[in-house]
Symmetry: C2
Subunit: 563 residues, 2 copies
């Protein structure tokens, strides 16, 4: 079959973008080829808002036939956190048929080389980008993110993270040349001379286990890192967030086929309700790489049991913000209020524990007591979410009943500084929308410690009274080392405290945001510049994205012979 997309076309079109991405990961300056603004779409083949919505609507109630081998059933059943039934059905795979079929195309994919794999991945990302409006609705109605967040985080930001992984994968593979001439002098005798050929080879089939809250953002790095390094990729979405990854698989299969490769290099493994297929897949001998985002319990299980695979996990953590002093009290409060509110705190990066000295803090407006700080923060959150339309746009919907239950239970853990409020969503009456709860706890009380030292995923924050800045730093260290952290924030005008917090983060290996008071939030990271997680504390064994995230997804085989 003649390829519809030639290597020449793909390289001509995408090599400049790849080169820019390579430069961005080297300088870590701001860069993105994927527009964040919804109005930027609609030209050059991309869907505008109306067309994107129409495309999403057309998917509802449909059968998404991916043309995969070994399809033995059709499964579905997603209900949007906004209350609508998606009604989309997906192929259910007989893995004994699908997995061998996924390996059939690996040789050609391997032999295509790192550059061709990279530009094919970039073409996949380009087509996903063109459908960003459609994906935004798919992400919104599976994750419960509000539309604008689903658009940005599920669209351009996720595509950025995918492209970043492609860039890292590419540069890692070309560190070793394709060929080398090796000539070793032997004094007066003839030199020893060898010709060497080096080939990056895949590990096998990679498994991506998707999550409910960020199906694309958390799924793309592993998917593209594995594909770009020559592996076939089987995508096992969260049962409540299948659609965004199913569309992704569909696009990938289309592009692979058009470029002359076997579309089965990327496939979907949707499952029946309660089937729990992830455990079965994760321990199959064909699966040599696993990327997982989700609970600590299952992440730990994977690390312990999927021993035949390289396992990259992002699990739970307890994120801390230390509030010691500030020269911009209002800025601090509004920045924190936004961080606690965005997507109802359902981000792995949302702060949970706010450590505040029980004797209060210093501000540019004078001292503020612990109670005042907590009350002011509660007021700031209340103000931010006071308007229901704005609140709906920031909060999104509660992703599942477990989060709702945790939110409701949190009010019983201590004195409630800010009660959670139910917000009506006129467009989606069945959406479960809640504002965050802030609960006061005492860092010195064992019962309180038991509460705040566990992840309480969702719109729940604890204002933890601590004895001193030193006490806060010690608690921060214990929290990171025992529970893990995706993010740490700190507000301080004291050089000494800043130094202590930094040292704690360097030693316990956590990413630190200092004194954020403007439009950047502790829970947001930018691809090509910020690392997401550190890979060095219990919250995650990998960071997005670095050399370690890609270097072991392939191996290099050398063939040498006499020159």
């Amino acid at each position: 079959m003649a390829a519809e997309l030639t290597a020449h076309q793909l390289i001509a079109q995408h090599r400049p973008t790849l080169d820019q991405a390579l430069e961005a990961i080297r300088t870590r300056a701001y860069w993105s080829p994927h527009p964040e603004h919804p109005k930027a779409y609609g030209e050059n083949g991309s869907l505008d808002a109306v067309a994107g919505k129409a495309a999403f609507d057309a998917l509802l109630g449909s059968r998404l036939d991916l043309g995969q081998p070994g399809t033995d059933d059709w499964v579905g059943g997603e209900t949007s956190p906004y209350g609508i039934e998606l009604g989309v059905t997906y192929p259910h795979a007989d893995v004994d048929t699908l997995l061998p079929a996924m390996r059939a195309g690996q040789r050609a994919w391997r032999d295509a080389g790192a550059e061709m794999r990279a530009v094919v991945c970039l073409e996949i990302l380009k087509r996903i980008s063109d459908r960003t409006h459609e994906f935004a609705h798919a992400v919104m109605h599976t994750s419960g993110q509000a539309f604008m967040m689903a658009f940005q985080a599920g669209g351009p930001h996720a595509q950025d993270r995918g492209l970043e992984a492609v860039a890292y994968a590419y540069v890692e593979q070309v560190r070793t040349p394709d060929n080398a001439e090796w000539t070793k002098p032997q004094g007066k005798r003839d030199p020893l001379a060898l010709t060497k050929r080096f080939t990056p080879v895949p590990r096998g089939v990679a498994l991506v286990i998707g999550c409910n809250t960020f199906p694309t953002w958390n799924g793309y790095p592993g998917l593209f890192a594995s594909l770009a390094t020559g592996n076939a990729v089987l995508v096992k979405p969260h049962p409540r967030a299948v659609l965004p990854l199913a569309l992704t698989v569909q696009v990938a299969r289309e592009v692979l086929a058009e470029a002359g490769f076997d579309p089965n290099l990327v496939a979907l493994a949707a499952e029946r309700a309660g089937e729990g297929i992830a455990k079965t897949l994760a321990t199959r001998p064909e699966i040599r790489i696993i990327d997982y985002t989700g609970s600590t319990a299952f992440g730990d299980w994977l690390e312990a049991n999927a021993r035949q695979a390289q396992v990259y996990t992002e699990k739970a953590g307890v994120n801390t913000v230390l509030v010691e002093s500030t020269d911009n009290y209002k800025g601090m409060l509004s920045n924190l209020a936004f961080s606690l509110s965005l997507y109802s705190g359902q981000m792995c990066t949302t702060p949970q524990n706010l450590l505040i000295p029980r004797d209060g803090i210093r501000t540019e407006e004078g001292p503020r007591s612990y109670d005042e700080v907590v009350a002011d923060l509660a007021r700031s959150v209340g103000g931010l979410l006071g308007d229901d339309a704005r609140a709906n746009g920031l909060l999104g919907a509660i992703v599942n009943p477990d989060v709702k239950a945790r939110l409701e239970a949190a009010a019983g853990l201590g004195e409630v500084a800010l009660a959670s409020r139910e917000i009506a969503n006129p467009e989606f009456p069945d959406a479960v929308v809640r504002t965050p709860v802030i609960v006061k706890l005492d860092g010195a009380k064992p019962d309180d410690q038991a509460a705040f030292m566990n992840e309480c995923f969702g719109p729940v924050s604890f204002a933890v009274a601590v004895d001193s800045a030193a006490d806060a730093v010690a608690l921060l260290r214990r929290t990171i080392s025992s529970r893990g952290a995706m993010t740490v924030g700190a507000y301080t005008t004291s050089e000494e405290v800043e130094e202590a917090v930094q040292e704690a983060c360097l030693e316990e290996c956590a990413q630190l945001s200092l004194n954020l008071t403007g439009g950047v939030y502790v829970n947001q990271t930018a691809a090509f510049s910020d690392f997401h997680g550190s890979g060095g504390n219990p919250a995650a064994n990998a960071a997005l994205c670095d050399g370690a995230f890609v270097a072991n997804r392939f191996r290099v085989v050398e063939v040498r012979r006499e020159a």
Copy 2:
């Protein structure tokens, strides 16, 4: 304390070498800064042959006091495979004292940065290089390697592998800049601007578990990779091969102290006979990286149990050479004879199974039957080792009684094509020196399969009769995938067979040497150019040296703040 070695001096002295190493790993052309010829030593502070021997002799019977904290006893007991008692005693550590002491200097070592760490490592290597003659005797009298091999493999080649690891570690750390300015446009509003600082941070204390046969060559990559990435390194040598690594630790501690760092960043963990300290150390929470070379059983145990650590293992494998056809029959025979004989086959890279079609092979001299090929190879080995002095120089000594027992048992596994011969060593009358045995086996017989499908470490090779080239390739695949392989060799003039063998090696992930008939041997790899192992089959989970070998030994912590 003022440092005796300033950063300026170290960088001025070693940066050019580092830059050359960086270029070498990029081009993979021949390069080494460490002379292979014994006569190259003796100037510019390096010890010549006489001084090196004298330095070694002075060590015999001595107490090697490394000045380590927590020393609670003195242990030793090495006996050379050449029959002499070394009589050196080493500090035995109370690990509850030593491990915390090793962490004390980590902050300063981390803060020194990647370049300073690299040049300190290069200074360590330089001083080891200066003492190559002394190390050669230490390696000889612990591994049983003949002097010239101990000199080259234990000296310059090991130093090359250490330097290669430093180069990879350096480049991996500087892929992320120290600082970045991130400015994100916001349309008509002010841009978002952040200042970011990135710091490579160590994982903790690294443990190197040394082996008996190549204490320096196999020990240096992990040691220097971990040290160069900011970790403290605890070296646990094989009880029969302590001296070369103890001297290494001594040099490292000297250089660290002179450069103003805590010498306890590198320490030795020698053990009492039968103490089995490796298991205890490997599961200590302080130990976050382990490099191990040795048996599959203990390597598997480490991978399964030292879950708190990154574990890099080189275990057993079954190396295959496929003999199908050649246009240089004599060259093939003499090349293979050397490979089988060198260090009595006690290399992890020595071929074990020679797969030869039972219908014979094609050569430029006409066809040769299976029996003729085996007889000719036996004759070639016999000729190579016919002179006792030359045989002693090539074979070295049998490293331990287990190898000798295996060699003796091998003769009972099938028809002996070449019997092992005892060789007297006039200089060391108690040395156990043996020529290799070649045993004929049938690839179709289950009993024979049971023999050749297991590693028989030592001077034992099996001439396995196979049905055809295709049968040989199938057996090669099974052998690599089920038993692992550090090396694969093949002799063929057929494009089709060459292609099939290459494809088998690419798919099963093994390093292939094709048609070697001259002075390069399948069991030798050159640092900066050849990969040692692939990390993709059961023989080893890492390759020496690539990005994956270093990238996860450190993490990067980001501290960001508003610009």
